[in-house]
Symmetry: C2
Subunit: 349 residues, 2 copies
């Protein structure tokens, strides 16, 4: 089959690799129907994180179950499934606590699983899925072309935006600011709106993304950044910072923006993968009582709830995909996101 | 009158200072019945924070209203009042949000108030209290000698321990670890027990404090620190970290201990005044989904609720005072805490 490998900075190649097969009785093999490029894939692409040797890449995919192992009980060939960006057993204490990202038998895509068996990554034609019962979520039916992007967003960005909102404690009637206007930031806007926030302020400088943020539920847009951005949010909220701030970037600057934009006693929900090792200023947190909560989103725990609303059309996170390419063009899918020509690229094998 | 000044490291003096008087119509003058030394007073005492010029010190006191300004409406001379460790108006948006520590007209003891008028500190005989209606809480009657320490604890340590538990989200049935066996840590044990935690694990190496922690509601004691301490907590909890960890010290090591002791998706409530500028490791927070929330405790917002239980005897935070001295011996009150001969010193003028 064909699958994507990263060889180094800005070196993405589609190559022939072995077809996956069932290796363990709890495995499934899934034929990928759609996959995509994540903002976090850009860190190795840009060389911010080193790539020591060529490796498979991609952790967001949906597809059709081709084959299941003897111990798989909840899935059958032919079902359309969503794969979250981590493998989890669904039964350990951390999964039961709602944090499958800390599963005792968890692993990621494109590396060895908990038993040391190689697992394919998402940007390819087929994937061996370990712990299939715990990891995969079957959809009610095969989504049509219109619905496919929204269903694909459940693998990561929609659940991640939702995690930012949940971690920040967004409630009906509260005020929210969203730092970051990428795919996750836009999904965070959708999530905050969905959870009943009265005001959702998107911090964005790009006209097209501002428009998309408003489509997603933003009530206001702030173009300023830094102290001016925080002041502009306060101006919109009667002189007080936001109850909840959703940090969807992962840089030191964006985290500082989030902390500065929250009101005393407010809460930052953060899901931006920390890049460059920013640390949190504990004295500021102490003085302001602003809380910080978030991290790698336990999207597996959110898929069912969010899928219902994607299928019903109540939320439309598929609009974050503004570029659709064939797998042959995977290098361009990365380049377009890197150069901010695309918010998020979808790949069709 | 007599009041305490700090002149520099280990240089605490009781001196003659001017008697306070009503300066603003919203002021009250309170005769101090009891005050105490805070763990955070030890930072300047030890020279960890510089003392640039001699200054009044002490931010925990209870007493009797002597006189009120013309605009004071809820207090009258003769009432017994509790003063929280910050001044607040009780009416601004931050006070209404439950964070009087961020009051728009707030200030502290022993410095200038929001209008630039000097405010006495707590370790003295009398105090001018700005914004008296917002700041002070009248008790139902004058406490007797047995109840006085518990009422005094409402000025800071009991509310601070409670804030750690609230910030960590302690709920009925949850598991809690408390880092720090000082007065705040012991009050955090009381608070966690009061909020219904099923397990309350005190991290303590001192036999007398371990015994006190158990009296306060600790179900278990762990003597180990660092990785061994976190492992010991997990051993007590079936291999999983604590749902909630209350950080009551304020050093880099204690915060790291707290983060390492929480389970994935758990929450640290921190109230230790950050000493030495530790920053929070955002990558660890991201990987574990452990949240961090807390800071300067908004004790004013908690006094009524906690006072009811102090008066009823449901909680007995007064037991953290294990040394009672006259104001003449204030230097010894500091030395005893500094040398860990006392958990917390109470001062009677």
């Amino acid at each position: 089959m064909r699958a994507t490998l990263i060889h180094g900075p800005r070196d993405i190649r589609l190559e022939e690799v072995p077809d996956p097969t069932i290796q363990r009785p709890t495995d499934a093999v899934v034929r990928v129907v759609a996959s995509c490029v994540c903002g976090s894939d850009l860190w190795p692409y840009r060389g911010v994180r080193p790539t020591e040797r060529p490796r498979r890449i991609g952790h967001e995919f949906v597809g059709v179950v081709e084959e299941v192992g003897a111990d798989v009980r909840t899935l059958r060939p032919g079902q359309f499934v969503v794969a979250p960006f981590t493998v989890s057993d669904g039964t350990c204490v951390h999964c039961r606590n709602g944090f499958p990202t800390s599963c005792e038998h968890g692993s990621g895509w494109g590396g060895d699983d908990a038993e040391g068996v190689f697992t394919d990554a998402g940007q390819g034609e087929y994937v061996r899925v370990p712990l299939a019962d715990g990891t995969l979520v079957a959809m009610r039916e095969h989504p049509d072309a219109d619905l496919l992007p929204g269903v694909l967003s459940l693998t990561d960005v929609m659940g991640t935006g939702h995690h930012a909102a949940v971690s920040a404690g967004v409630r009906p009637g509260s005020t929210v600011a969203v730092v970051g206007d990428g795919a996750v930031g836009l999904c965070a806007v959708i999530a905050a709106h969905r959870l009943g926030a009265e005001r959702v302020i998107a911090l964005s400088r790009h006209a097209s993304r501002q428009a998309l943020a408003r489509e997603c539920g933003a009530t206001d847009v702030v173009e300023e950044r830094g102290d001016e951005g925080a002041a502009a949010v306060r101006d919109l909220l009667g002189g007080v910072g936001a109850d909840h701030v959703l940090e969807c970037v992962g840089t030191k600057e964006s985290m500082q923006q989030a902390l500065d934009t929250a009101r005393p006693g407010g809460q930052v929900g953060f899901v931006g993968v920390p890049a460059g090792g920013p640390e949190l200023p504990v004295r500021q947190l102490f003085a302001t009582n602003v809380g910080v909560r978030g991290g790698m989103a336990p999207v597996r725990a959110y898929i069912e709830e969010l899928a219902d609303e994607v299928w019903s059309g109540a939320i439309r996170p598929g609009k974050v995909f503004d570029l659709v390419l064939g797998l042959d063009d995977v290098a361009e899918a990365y380049a377009a996101m890197d150069e901010r020509r695309a918010i998020k690229s979808m790949l069709l094998p």
